[in-house]
Symmetry: C2
């Protein structure tokens, strides 16, 4: 059991939780993510995501900044935790999928290397924990039925942090090996034509009638779901809040769903099975 | 508002929830997944996964079968829902990632095509909803720090439902385009050497010192985390409950984490930043 002294040290120890709040609606958050936010007096995040959890953070110190201020925001969070504060950095979806987990850990390494925080005694370091969440790709897939189900690749079309030729190389590789493909960040004002180039690459390897699902604001109040094909996908509204899932060669549509078979041999349907446990 | 008659119809309408229970510990389940299970008198799933939610299902009809009886299990679930029952098919992780969402929807299509369930009136059809969960890949990534963070490919090494040459083609494609790679089902008694072949393919395209994270039982009581390299990965215990994450060319290790940089330009660390909102 902790001595009083140990308890007091524990209370002064900061904590930095890098939390995924899931795709949008609070019902898709995990209990652990909610507990981390409730336990933390300081909440840090991109303003648009903070709005999704507004009811959880009304009495907290909120450090919210705009889209391109990630480094500033995450540095402030680390410094607060180093002072002994409990802090959550929140990301929508999962913090490890195109979100803040990497940047926070990169910044911690930089500050350790530079001697700002030596933290040679592990007990003197804040608790640092990544709390996973439901990523946008799973929320979008659920809205579309079952389009993933087999090997898939996730590719972001944003070239803000990645050279465009590497993005093209990955699109070609994934499409040529018949992966299901999840496209993040398909379009923004600064790069409206990337999705057109991506579509052309897909068509080099996939049939035009391959199912394409377009989900805007997955699991949010304004969710819209479009099921179309690779040939037709550019005729639909696509923006930065959109996730696109492109099927593999086996994917098909049925009853408002995209289904990618896993490969199970299906029994010939006869009459309904009997009830009971087995 | 519903009339009494409508309410009565609603009560007789079956529901089939295809639910992701997350990686293991109940704290990683979403509120929506818990609500779906609580609302459903019939719970269907692979026995190992049902054990993870035992405390939620003590008073329910449980249809639990072994590993290779997926078709039997999902057919029984559909038939129960068609009779007006509320049913959950549970999968660990997310139901759309190598799990049951696809098979359930495939079986529904088969039974509709065969006329077992015509369901031409949408109101007469059971409610069918996929409830997303935290996939194993996100739980494993969180345990390892931030290894995903950039474009990634998920590949299963199980050739029970997929020809091995297609798996090899995808490993080659993903490794050659410098994707982070998540390996599901790396090893089982029936195919102990697949992971060796996969490692050899990875080494054709990736450096031997590329970080590799091995997570067994992510977010479960017996979770084990190993951080190693592609060269050394086969010296560690790997089994069917293991998820392996292989970095890209930029990934590195630091302080017990694998970090894949997203590409942000980091500020030179100076002194700690000031506190306050901005």
């Amino acid at each position: 059991m902790d001595t009083e002294n140990n308890s007091s040290q524990q209370q002064n120890r900061g904590a930095l939780y890098i939390v995924g709040i899931g795709p949008g609606a609070l019902e898709h958050m995990t209990a652990k993510a909610i507990a981390a936010i409730v336990a933390s007096p300081v909440i840090v995040g991109y303003s648009t995501y903070l709005d999704l959890i507004r009811e959880l953070i009304t009495k907290k110190t909120v450090i919210g900044t705009g889209m391109t201020q990630e480094v500033k925001r995450c540095t402030a969070a680390i410094d607060e935790a180093a002072r002994g504060q409990k802090v959550c950095v929140v990301s929508s979806g999962d913090p490890g999928v195109y979100a803040m987990a990497g940047l926070v850990l990169e910044l911690i390494k930089e500050r350790q290397d530079a001697g700002v925080y030596p933290w040679s005694d592990p007990a003197a370091r804040p608790i640092i924990e990544v709390v996973p969440g439901v990523p946008a790709l799973c929320a979008a897939a659920a809205a579309l039925g079952a389009p993933l189900m087999h090997d898939f690749a996730a590719i972001s079309l944003s070239d803000r942090l990645t050279p465009w030729d590497l993005i093209e190389r990955r699109l070609n590789a994934a499409a040529s090996a018949d992966f299901v493909i999840v496209i993040y960040n398909p379009k923004s004002k600064g790069r409206p034509s990337h999705i057109n180039k991506a579509r052309d690459i897909l068509l080099k390897h996939k049939k035009g009638e391959t199912p394409a699902g377009i989900v805007k604001g997955a699991a949010r109040a304004d969710e819209t779901i479009t099921i179309t094909t690779v040939s037709e996908m550019l005729n639909h509204e696509i923006d930065m809040q959109t996730t696109i899932i492109i099927g593999n060669s086996q994917s098909y549509t049925h009853g408002g769903w995209i289904i990618t078979p896993r490969g199970y041999k299906l029994d010939k349907p006869g009459k309904a099975t009997g009830s009971g446990q087995n």
